[in-house]
Symmetry: D2
Subunit: 310 residues, 4 copies
């Protein structure tokens, strides 16, 4: 029994036919009509038609960044695509004539990792997606947890510093201002401005345009500023995991997202930071801290699999 | 079908026969043998014998402060009674010959409130017990959430101030250092020392010994210092609820515990603080903030009912 | 014996002939050639010529925002006018043939207040200029304190929140991010976005464009959001004064700058906050917290008087 | 012309005859009558009589921990010796018939370092005494700065963490809770409890009783926990220096006190932290960060020299 998973990103719509083992049998890609958010449903329909031409498809799972309502039908608010109360399920169903479920993309990713990836032996999982911001997905007793209105697991918006750095969400001191990819790059830039002699490798590599790739590469070559920025990210990641463990006592954390490709530069220290900061340490086991396994297609695979559960 | 619920506190063991509607049919009380923690099981057995003399009892539910393991059998660590890896279930079962389950007391209270109290119309509940510290209980999809090892919902130990006030758990800046009854009293004491002219009512009432009751009474009479301490508690309570809502998106919060008896002095402001601080406000409903309804017997009732689920 | 004081602002150059009692005998004004910072010296010379046409002038004192070097000659760095190592003294002296001293504008203001204004009976003064940012001036043993390189009294850049809000200076958590006019307006805007119902008066008054005047007026009319923003400013102002008193033990604080025109909305609470937070309170006198008296011409008068001391 | 300097500590009274070059010509020592604070003056008189038996002594300078009033006569409050409004000058003068001045001990130390020690080529000095707490002394334009009521330079009580760790002074988040010797030891203990495997060297050395010496020795042998505690002290020391430089723009910092004997373990990093955190860096020189030179006798020498200035 096959389903199609769709991952709607800011620049492209990735789609795949997925079987019950989480294997992708076929893929297709379209550019996201970002300036016409009302056209996204048609793009999805188009790619579904291509992929379902010669296959029996049971249902469609769509993953998108933003708040998705508890009926898995409507995107209430999406920062990237300027959606407000977008009835995505209804639009796509009308176009393709198949059952559709809509999911938050980080939830979809978490589900894929829990079923087919790093968490397949675990029942209580906190999945942390460290990209430009921080997203999350929660697996409790083997099921995806969505919250009362489908808006749970916005892990990046716990406050970790009272009156701290301004966040895009309007609040101050959110976790993602200290432990995300954007925080990492901002930190490295700050150090390189303040004390350029500590950022020689970075400044040489980047030539004025410091982005995540340059920070990672410079850190690997021993740049002091970038190593410090990664160390700070790791400490804050551990702090957030300690907070989440106090609340949720998961069996494992799974760290994914774009920044996790540089896990050699921060994951050991994040684990150490978590263990030093966990309340009740000494009287309880430590949750494992694992790296995500499925890479960039996790969202697509997870959405496809969640479409089976209607 | 009747069960007995037991609430093991630092000073007394409260027990009650509870029916399926959560009604207490009979009660009994014993002093806790606090200096002989190994004797607690016998005290429990004793009270069970008394209560079960003329009734058919199906099972026993025991609530205790501390980390209870995921099999609901062993108290791994209890600060009040100096228990370490105490096999409470085994001991009591051997003494009374009935099935026994052990639960964390805040979990038991949360369960009672969710089934028979303030949350009976809700499926996703975060229960916050504001006493000397802060405890918690989580109800997800109508079931009690315990975490992988039974240690979830230690809500009081989220860090809210980096490098903040020292907590009894060994960490710095835990939530319960800012929003619990102990925090309230400490705060009022500090203000009264620093600026006695703002604490005239309190100082007159307390005559040197400032405890929670004096702080509450003085606040009701308009004492500036105590009103400020309650305002601070309310703001921090709201901040913590905003953090928990970002993670868990509950339908409601239930605030209980000893401090909640003074809810007129802080609950409205805590709700307001929560709403001002919630990430994504404007694009999502606000969880309700409700007062617990079952009072001091919630723990006993919850433990009794949880004993039905084996 | 007369001197001329000049206050170089971002939009206008204000000049005045000042006698030994601090009285302004004549004034003149020119627009600042802000897009031609190298022309400022000529504007100053022009206004000096006008004012000295029929008077005997002994020296010129120039006040400017920015870091002025310890010889009172060179503006090393001025954010508003894009000056770097600007030899202002030399340029003006060459043009007008009179002795010239250059001073930081907040230092000049502090000096005027200490000699002719709110601090004339005091020898140890910390002057706090609360405008868009926070500037300062220090009077120790009756003399202006400049520091080793003339860069002392940058009071707005003490860190008060570790990893706090980003400051224009590149650091995080500077005092002026919490207690300046800009902080006030930002805070009021945030509350009005988060909970518009608490900012009804402000939103009606401001009609979309919230600036300092609207926040002040709305606070006076009882707007909840604006009162909260002022309360926060007052608390932080008091905290900073407590820190400065721990270090400097002044006899008084003088609060000036544009925001001080709304002193009825924050000064009492700032004083109270200072007294609650002062280390060693109970064993030491409290420094007075006074309002500046000389208004907008303080900078000009102070610069003129400092020109007498060469 | 000779004077006698006295350093009243918690356990011993150290005295010395000092010449105008700051050389100690003779010394004497007595135990402090700590349980009879009213007897301290007699102990001082006794040691003065011994040292002045065969010399012409002009005056006596007494250094003591605590708040000393602006007339240099009365100790208003001393935490160690339970003094309140102790008229030390009057008492000692009556007993020995010589002029007496009383000084805060950290001020005396700072004066000695500025005149005979690490700061003899400097006019603007901030002296930081890192011992169990943090004391300070300020030299401005070559003179000791005392503040309006003699209580300046309580540097350890700047707040660096809002609502941070409780300080003995009653406030929260004081600098000395993060950068003093006590903070160092507390930090090392915390890490060794949380993660004993990172503190193996320390735990072996200390055998249960962890104090400053063990932390220092273990750090020198590479103990991870102790190195982390020193790194944290260094970072916070640098932050405090950056705050002080924003306010005071000194030409140099002098770091003394008991912890400075381990300067190899933190001073380079403290300097680096200071430079990274200084506001306006890039547009101003960096103050030097120097080690104190005079060791434990600095207080005695400074008090003796200050007695010359009456």
């Amino acid at each position: 029994m096959l389903t199609i998973g769709i991952d709607i990103g800011g620049t492209k719509v990735a789609a795949g036919v997925v079987d019950e083992e989480g294997t992708i049998l076929a893929q297709a890609l379209r550019p996201t009509p970002a300036d016409r958010p009302d056209q996204v449903a048609e793009t999805v329909a188009d790619v579904v038609r291509e992929l379902s031409a010669d296959r029996q498809i049971e249902a469609i799972g769509v993953g998108a960044a933003g708040f998705v309502d508890e009926t898995r039908s409507v995107v209430r608010f999406a920062p990237n695509l300027a959606w407000r109360e977008e009835p995505l399920q209804k639009k796509i169903t009308e176009l393709v004539g198949l059952p559709v479920v809509v999911e938050n993309d980080a939830n979809a990713m978490a589900w894929a990792e829990s079923k087919f990836g790093a968490g397949r032996d675990q029942d209580h999982i906190v999945c942390i997606t460290v990209g430009t911001g921080i997203g999350g997905g929660l697996i409790f007793d083997g099921a995806l947890y969505r919250g009362r209105w489908g808006m749970g697991a916005e892990l990046g918006h716990m406050q970790v510093v009272p009156e701290g750095k301004k966040c895009g969400c309007g609040n101050l001191g959110c976790w993602e201002q200290y432990a995300s990819g954007n925080a990492l790059v901002a930190h490295a830039r700050e150090i390189s401005t303040a004390t350029p002699e500590r950022a020689r490798i970075l400044l040489e590599l980047a030539g004025g345009s410091i982005e995540g790739e340059e920070v990672t590469e410079a850190a690997r070559q021993g740049d002091e500023a970038c190593l410090e920025a990664f160390a700070s990210l790791a400490e804050w990641l551990g702090q957030g995991m300690a907070d989440l463990a106090a609340i949720l006592d998961p069996g494992c954390f799974i760290v994914g997202g774009g920044v996790s490709r540089a896990s050699d530069l921060f994951l050991d220290r994040a684990r150490d930071s978590f263990q030093r900061r966990l309340t009740g340490r000494g009287h309880r086991p430590f949750a494992e801290v694992r790296l995500a396994e499925l890479g960039a297609s996790a969202g697509l695979v997870g959405a496809a699999d969640l479409a089976r559960q209607r």
